[in-house]
Symmetry: C3
Subunit: 129 residues, 3 copies
């Protein structure tokens, strides 16, 4: 945790610069003063090849992000993280948004405390001595 | 919003007519007397190539739909929309259901009010003057 | 229901033995003394080709599982199922975990009672006469 999932329609694939988008998102999550353990940060993008948007009468596109984090952060922390991520998303797609139909969105969800299991040897790499 | 995600197993790909299924779903969501802004409707299908169903001893298939909408609609509105979508799903796959193992399902979820961000230039196309 | 979704990063694809992992998961879900109807068990794996983990500075990998079940099981039943699944996940990836960066995780979620629709002819196969 946290897990970020970014769905995007394949009609913007050539311009979406997905690796850069994911790397930037991770940097934002890392830069939250330790709010998220670095070794638990996982982002992925899913290319959507079968989709239908609105009335299906134009070449619409969308990017939808789902950030899922462990429960227990304050509302202020959650808002700050999402604000940063969404600003970065808008910046990343600003040129595209200016010239074509595009819907950007971000949702935040929390893992339930009880039903989560972890086994992770990446954390050790980031442990302070 | 709303977001519809349709997962289907690849063993029915040739007969699933996915573009038609997605377009029909959007038409149903549009036809709800303005319950959903047209410019926010987004459907997608995900083909599952790695799956295991039940005891794995026959050529089982499934189609699972997740409709996620903004919070605040009435229970009656939500039921009507889901009833329509599920009837359309059953109609769409009726011939297939009659001749092979197939599980159809639909779940409804709501976005949390607080944690959702949007930036969408498709809405403008559908604004009344 | 239940639905199991296993995401895994493509850098472990060659060693992940996904069909075996899914089949084992189904066997665990079937072996819960009738807690889950066999005909409703559906597992799938999603290969992630675009991902970014932690600081992106090593060849990190992850496997994330989401088990979603109908509401109404006891906490003890849910814990037992998840314990079994997660032990199986750790066993399955033990050799890989011992030699490379890898994060394994499992989350449990429940379907809302109200918003779920089903139409399934697989159940009939498992009906007791």
């Amino acid at each position: 945790m946290p897990h970020l999932t970014i769905e995007y329609t394949s009609n913007i694939k050539a311009e979406a610069r997905i690796p850069e988008l994911l790397a930037n998102a991770n940097q934002i999550l890392i830069a939250q003063n330790g709010l998220f353990p670095i070794g638990g940060i996982r982002s992925r993008a899913i290319e959507l090849t079968d989709y239908c948007i609105a009335d299906n009468q134009a070449d619409y596109a969308f990017v939808h992000c789902n950030l899922k984090i462990g429960a227990g952060r304050t509302d202020a922390d959650k808002k700050r993280v999402c604000d940063h991520l969404f600003e970065a998303l808008k910046d990343h797609f600003a040129a595209l948004f200016a010239k074509r139909y595009l819907a950007l969105s971000l949702e935040l969800n929390e893992f339930s405390e009880s039903g989560t299991y972890k086994h992770n040897n990446i954390h050790a790499r980031f442990k302070k001595p």
